[in-house]
Symmetry: C3
Subunit: 346 residues, 3 copies
């Protein structure tokens, strides 16, 4: 489904907001974004990279965001700028119906403790529950059904979508986006084993999220055992991610869906972990490390670069023949060495 | 624990509902289902396939669903039909205490916007929150604590279990079942990188679920960036699944628990993905593809069939010896070729 | 962030609670726990194992938990006991601000059915919803926004953190800890295939959790098809775990984050499954089995011990060369055998 049209801008307005050079009718009004192929005359399209150029000549878009070098091939109005994909990101914010400035106000069906400190224009949705000692910065939006535990602080401009849980003693920086179903600050998984059974270690640390952090739906960031679990600035976390206690993640790192990071592992700045990647506990992953999807990392990584493990899918028939040989690899190695030795001696 | 007995049928009634041939006392009353081994005289059992036949002769069930060819071996009343497992599925619906027709009514502790369009016999539980512009079809059930965002539409006969989140601008078809904790329509994971940091791309598309879709607990289906994320009719999605933005899934496809599908990948009709399978982004998976558990798919698959990757568990001692050889495989290949060449030359 | 100081004990009090031998000033007051390196004079530190001994001589802690054999190296007051890590676990409970005894009471914004049976000092938070026929034992705490479905029973001393969902007909033992976002008792994933489409099998079993079970945030334990899904006593389940219908897990078993267990598999007592481990359906895993992170188990395991699969990450360049050889392993094996045969014959 398409959203109802909610906002309209002239091309001149968009050019000014983006700092782009406009060629075309500045008075033309547009109402949304679309791909080069699907855009109509009231929508803006973009050439994010060369692979899109093939669609440019036939576009019906009202205007196209592109680099100056592609201007000649554009049959319609154009907004020229160095990074059209960034321009697309910036315009997308304008057209998002959910990103209107908060109206402010506490819904009467929210349950907010008396001593909660509320910034300007804070908005709290119905059935949200906010415990004692919580501080919400200016323009924080707390969605319906959210829970914020005692003593937690949410920085200015942050948005908690509906049904988010922030446990007690959690600090969230400015401009965070927490998606529905995520849980920040549940207990880490810590037990002492004694007498044939588990004895729970209370998780006394908290969670600290820096500024501009995004956490996807149904993701978990557990609280620390003694010290805090710490997520740096501008860290982007997708859905279904598990971050265990006392993990520390550096600024600008991005974690794709279904990533799992075990306890006390440190991940550097500007890292990218692909979907389903697993990091064992107590590792150190340096800055600028990229790990491809579903890889298992059991050792620290100190050099930037791309890392991988696993094998890609093949037909089950081919896989059955080959996977069974995995258990024989050490045997192969020894037999191969024997043959080579015999060859040299023979 | 066993549920309290809530419904009772005669064998004649069941035979009629199933279109089965009854041999035995049509007036016998039964109150539930059980396996051949555990069923008592007031329960119905079934022979789903040949592996169950060994339990047939000793069953104490009140009646057994089976194929006519197995009738002779049945010591009790029998309901003969071509697909006994289907018959079991159909009877299971009768005995499910939660599947009573909705009583209808909006709980006084629900928060429902004034302009919400309500079909006949809609039921909304306590503390559910339904925003402006939502449409709920006939006999929709919205469980306690659910959130339905602005402008979303839920088709007739659909059931949202407690604490489900449906974000704004989502379309759910008829007879959907959304389990607790699932989140439909949270933002996809999209950012432009510029100046050493991430710039969010607002996710302006929606999510469209076809008819007869089921989504398991704590699963995420993210909204599209520009176009919608689209889930076909009769698609069955288990718990803890992540479906990224702009994924499209064809009719009758089933995804087991912990599957992750990255952005813009298309999965065909009648596919089955085993537990923990990961599909990379921007792939095309054709119709009738099955992928076994925890396989990683990084290339498109155009032929129907069964696909696999990975290796099964072995003792850690055996694994340590062999896994270390994985890094030497290319070296093995070269050495093997050298030996063969030498053999041919020698 | 650090929690506000909430409790204070003398070393003599702690020694008595732990049954530890105190050397030092019994009147010294302490207010929390920290590592040897970070502890100040009002905090207690611990020597969990020999690797911490290097930090002992320089510690500024108010007291240290340690084994008697390490007493000589301790520069401050000490609490000597056989298992200092257990001692740490026990003290951690004392200092956890959330583990105060429940104040009791039903919040006026909770929705509790008339016939719910409430033990002594039960506490129900705002916007929790508790359906008919539920029984809550003494000192049960139900957090804000939780849902407990019809007929479920929660044992004495159990705590449901905010936004937990317990579906109908679930039994939770004593002293359970259910973390936010977990869902106990959603439908298992069962369908009959007929006529080109899926027919739902209603899930008529329940879920039974033993005593002292912990379930992490956003984890799912599905209800059984006919019989129950059964989790033993003292089973510890981390975040983002999926347990399918009719799984049975033995006492004292621990499952790390992102584990997935498919339907009807039985896991023994005292097992440990590492993060991201996947167990196929209908397996039997014996007692005392440990599986390392992200391993795939497709066959039953009858002997205790450690099991593994997969391969660890390497540089992408190295991985590309080697992973492609995986499809050639069977070919390698045949060629190797041929060379050996030729060698023997030659």
């Amino acid at each position: 489904m398409k959203h109802p049209v909610t906002r309209e801008f002239t091309l001149a307005e968009l050019a000014e907001r983006l700092g782009a050079h406009l060629e075309g009718d500045g008075g033309r009004r547009v109402r949304g974004l679309a791909t080069l192929r699907e855009a109509g005359p009231d929508q803006v399209a973009f050439v994010a990279n060369r692979s899109y150029l093939k669609d440019l000549s036939a576009t019906r878009a009202g205007a196209v965001l592109l680099q100056p070098e592609h201007a000649a091939a554009c049959p319609v109005a154009r907004l020229e700028l160095a990074n059209p994909y960034l321009g697309y990101a910036q315009l997308s914010q304008l057209f998002d119906p959910i990103l209107a400035p908060p109206r402010g106000g506490i819904h009467p069906a929210a349950v907010v403790a008396d001593d909660v400190v509320l910034g300007e224009r804070v908005e709290v949705g119905p059935n949200a529950v906010i415990e004692a000692g919580v501080e919400l910065g200016d323009e924080v939006v707390v969605g319906a059904g959210c829970f914020i535990g005692a003593g937690s602080r949410i920085g200015a401009g942050s948005r908690l979508h509906p049904n988010v849980t922030v446990c007690h003693g959690v600090v969230v920086g400015a401009r965070a986006i927490l998606h529905s179903g995520c849980v920040i600050g549940a207990d880490g998984f810590g037990f002492a084993h004694d007498g044939g059974r588990w004895h729970k270690i209370a998780q006394l640390g908290g969670v600290v999220l820096g500024d501009d952090v995004e956490v996807g739906s149904c993701s978990s960031i557990d609280r620390g055992a003694l010290d805090d679990t710490v997520i740096g600035n501008d860290v982007k976390i997708d859905s279904q991610v598990q971050i265990a206690h006392n993990v520390r993640i550096g600024d600008h790192t991005a974690l794709a869906g279904c990533v799992g990071i075990a306890g006390s592992t440190r991940v550097g700045r500007n890292c990218m972990l692909g979907g389903g990647v697993g990091l064992a506990g107590h590792l150190t992953i340096g800055d600028g490390v990229q790990v491809t999807g579903m890889s298992l990392v059991t050792n620290s990584i100190h050099e930037p670069g791309v890392y991988s493990s696993g094998t890609g899918a093949m037909t089950n028939a081919l896989w059955r023949k080959n996977a069974v040989r995995f258990k024989q690899l050490d045997d192969f190695a020894r037999r191969l060495a024997r043959l080579e030795k015999r060859g040299r001696e023979g």
